[in-house]
């Protein structure tokens, strides 16, 4: 156990409250501590970020080295190139590493190809100006000489013919001769993608129109949905423009390096291994938590706040194995939410409940911009500060969030209420602490006790099954052991 890690700072954004209103962070409360993820899982690889004052320079060096190995000969000096980015990357470890990757891609492409028409196109989720905010705050508009824009799924689209019929992409994603897919191996929404084709997913999501995204979330089913992105990527149109991909190699504890490849599927298999092995251990460990108070304390919408690389939405489903594809529906995913009847009970008896270990949620700081009433409806939730409650009441996606939550003036009072009401003192804080996780001392004791067995179970039993279900060559495990 260590002293708490300083959490990611509150950020000024139209989707969250004024950072000045975040008076206290949960990690500052009494009896909180931190766990280093490499103490829990010693096999996690060394990271280059966070790692001291020069860490961001090391991210740049890793990016340049990786990009130099990629074939860029298809890009001619007179061509145009769109570097495609997504909002999630900017939420990882403060966002700087992803911004640095985007800068390095521009520089190396210009240097290797002589091309000067290199633009940044950054897609979003449901907060249509989110990447506009990031582009400004990380200086990407200046770096890309004004050729950096945020794109939303309601922007003008283009039809793309695929093996399953017409899907729709965003016109400005594809309005260049070449596209470069700039992403990361962080898992984020395992409840949606189930670590199937995660590296391909932005083609069906942040680079796509509403019709395509709705296909994913409504038309195909919880696992088949993941084919949407592959259908688009496999299309002649996208293939004719795809140059290469460059990913931050991310673990739950930091940036390990940069992985660039002309073959997205090869990169996808490596990302699948990382997602299952590195993140699968933390996710499985979280499934061992028997009871807790969860605190949301991060500049992101409710489901996306982080602890040790796991988002709150995945913690609400940690009572089932999210990586086991034999289980069709996680406790939380939109298909699951859709299948709750008017009596607020699942239509099918075998739909798993929301993680019963979460006895109460204290929402100290999290953003609007994602429909979150399902969480407050099924988990007792306290929102800190009337300003935050009012913000949710004004959000078109969260008009019901405060119908099921209560507001309390201060974090201290909210925690006291939670302790007294639940009678437990195990706390897990979703505050994006880098390199580890902030928890209560009692929670730390539990996790330290459970981690060795979880690690062994994932390595010996779960990981081979998970990889096999995804068609990933399991011999990758043997190669890594050598």
């Amino acid at each position: 156990m260590h002293k708490p890690i300083t959490p990611i700072s509150a950020k000024p954004s139209q989707y969250g409250i004024n950072p000045a209103l975040v008076k206290k962070r949960a990690s500052e409360l009494p009896k909180m501590c931190s766990l280093n993820l490499q103490d829990l899982f010693p096999d996690l690889p060394e990271v280059i970020f966070p790692a001291g004052p020069n860490a961001i320079d090391d991210v740049r060096k890793a990016a340049i080295e990786s990009l130099k190995k990629v074939d860029m000969s298809m890009i001619k000096s007179e061509d145009s190139v769109n570097v495609l980015a997504s909002h999630h990357g900017f939420t990882l470890f403060g966002g700087e590493p992803y911004a640095e990757l985007l800068k390095a891609i521009k520089d190396v492409v210009e240097e290797k190809t002589g091309c000067k028409e290199v633009r940044l196109r950054a897609g979003v989720g449901m907060r249509f100006r989110e990447t506009e905010e990031y582009i400004k705050s990380y200086g990407l508009d200046t770096y890309y000489h004004g050729k950096a824009i945020g794109l939303a799924p309601v922007d003008e689209g283009i039809p793309i013919e695929t093996e399953i019929g017409t899907l729709y992409g965003l016109k400005k994603i594809y309005d260049a001769d070449w596209i470069i897919h700039a992403h990361h191996t962080d898992v984020r929404e395992v409840h949606f993608h189930r670590q199937v084709d995660k590296a391909v997913k932005p083609f069906g999501m942040s680079y796509a129109r509403i019709e395509t995204r709705s296909t994913y979330h409504q038309n195909l089913g919880p696992r088949a949905a993941n084919f949407t992105a592959r259908a688009l990527f496999e299309s002649d149109f996208v293939q004719s423009k795809f140059a290469f991909a460059s990913f931050l190699d991310v673990g739950p504890h930091g940036i390990v390096g940069v992985d660039s490849d002309n073959d997205l599927y090869a990169l996808n298999d490596r990302a699948t291994f990382i997602g299952c092995q590195r993140y699968g251990k933390v996710m499985t460990l979280f499934g061992e938590i028997d009871e807790c108070i969860a605190v949301l304390d991060f500049p992101c919408p409710v489901p996306y706040v982080f602890s040790a690389g796991v988002i709150y939405a995945n913690f609400t489903g940690a009572n089932v194995d999210l990586y086991d594809l034999k289980t069709p529906l996680p406790s939380y995913t939109w298909y699951t939410e859709a299948f709750y009847g008017k009596n607020d009970k699942p239509l099918l008896g075998d739909i798993p409940p929301i993680n019963p270990a979460i006895k109460m949620c204290v929402h100290n700081y999290a953003w609007t911009g994602y429909p979150s009433a399902f969480f407050s409806k099924h988990i007792p939730t306290i929102v800190v500060g009337q300003e935050q409650a009012n913000l949710f009441d004004r959000d078109s996606m969260n008009l019901e969030y405060m119908d099921y939550a209560v507001s309390i003036k201060s974090l201290e009072a909210a925690m006291e209420f939670a302790y007294q009401t639940t009678g437990i003192d195990k706390v897990i804080i979703f505050d994006g602490a880098m390199g580890g996780m902030n928890v209560s001392e009692t929670m730390a004791e539990l996790l330290l006790e459970k981690a060795p067995l979880v690690s062994e179970k994932v390595d010996q039993e779960l990981l081979p099954k998970w990889l096999k279900q995804r068609g990933v060559d399991v011999s990758i495990l043997d190669k890594l052991k050598k």
């Binding site: 922007d155 019709e211 409504q218 939109w334 239509l347 099918l348 008009l399």
Partner: protein
């Protein structure tokens, strides 16, 4: 059902008449007159798309003096016909179609029976497609198509372009080609069918094999 508490308000001095707001409004409540955007206050469902996409930041969402409640009372319509439309579209009548407003399939069917023939009309009546405005477009199109409505996108608009693949239209050869990559096409179609065909009287009681 949606409680509409806000309203889009245009700052005429900032508006440049680009018409983007008219292209992204899911209920067609904005028009451009004399190169300035004008909001039809009765129709605005406060999704905020216009405010979020306006390049000159000329639109603000402000509280309505009198909030509106938009909904269609499903009990006033023939339950058999509601079920028929839902089943044809492969939805259970109680299935949630809109994660932001909580609008269910039966309310959309009731709106259609009440005369809605376009996605915009369904949204005006129920509030569906006026939260995130993203995820429920396909279910609305599927429901309208199932009811026999002709789908014709708004000329020059970006509201929606058309229907896409469903679990019931994915070609067999595609399923076979990608069968080893974890997509579980057939199993998911069966799950969706089980939900759609479930009699609400049985809900909560039926278990499926994983």
């Amino acid at each position: 059902m949606k409680q509409v508490t806000l309203l889009a308000k245009v700052d005429q001095d900032k508006c440049i008449g680009c018409k983007i707001c008219t292209k992204v409004c899911p209920v067609l409540s904005i028009s451009v007159v004399n190169r300035k955007a004008v909001v039809n206050e009765d129709d605005c469902r406060a999704c905020g798309n216009c405010e979020q996409r306006c390049p000159s930041h000329a639109i603000e969402m402000v509280p309505r003096e009198k909030p509106l409640k938009v909904y269609v009372d499903v009990t006033k319509f023939d339950q058999g016909k509601i079920s028929e439309i839902c089943e044809k579209a492969h939805f259970n009548p109680e299935q949630v179609l809109c994660y932001c407003t909580g609008v269910r399939a039966d309310e959309v069917a009731a709106a259609i029976l009440d005369g809605a023939k376009t996605p915009e009309a369904v949204s005006l009546m129920t509030g569906i497609r006026t939260g995130c405005t993203i995820e429920c477009v396909q279910p609305v199109l599927r429901m309208l198509e199932a009811a026999g409505c002709e789908l014709k996108p708004n000329e020059g608009g970006w509201q929606w372009y058309g229907t896409t693949a469903t679990a019931w239209t994915v070609p067999k050869e595609v399923k076979e080609k990608y069968s080893t990559r974890g997509f579980y096409f057939e199993e998911d179609r069966e799950l969706l069918d089980d939900i759609a065909k479930l009699n609400v009287e049985e809900k909560g009681g039926k278990n499926r094999d994983a």
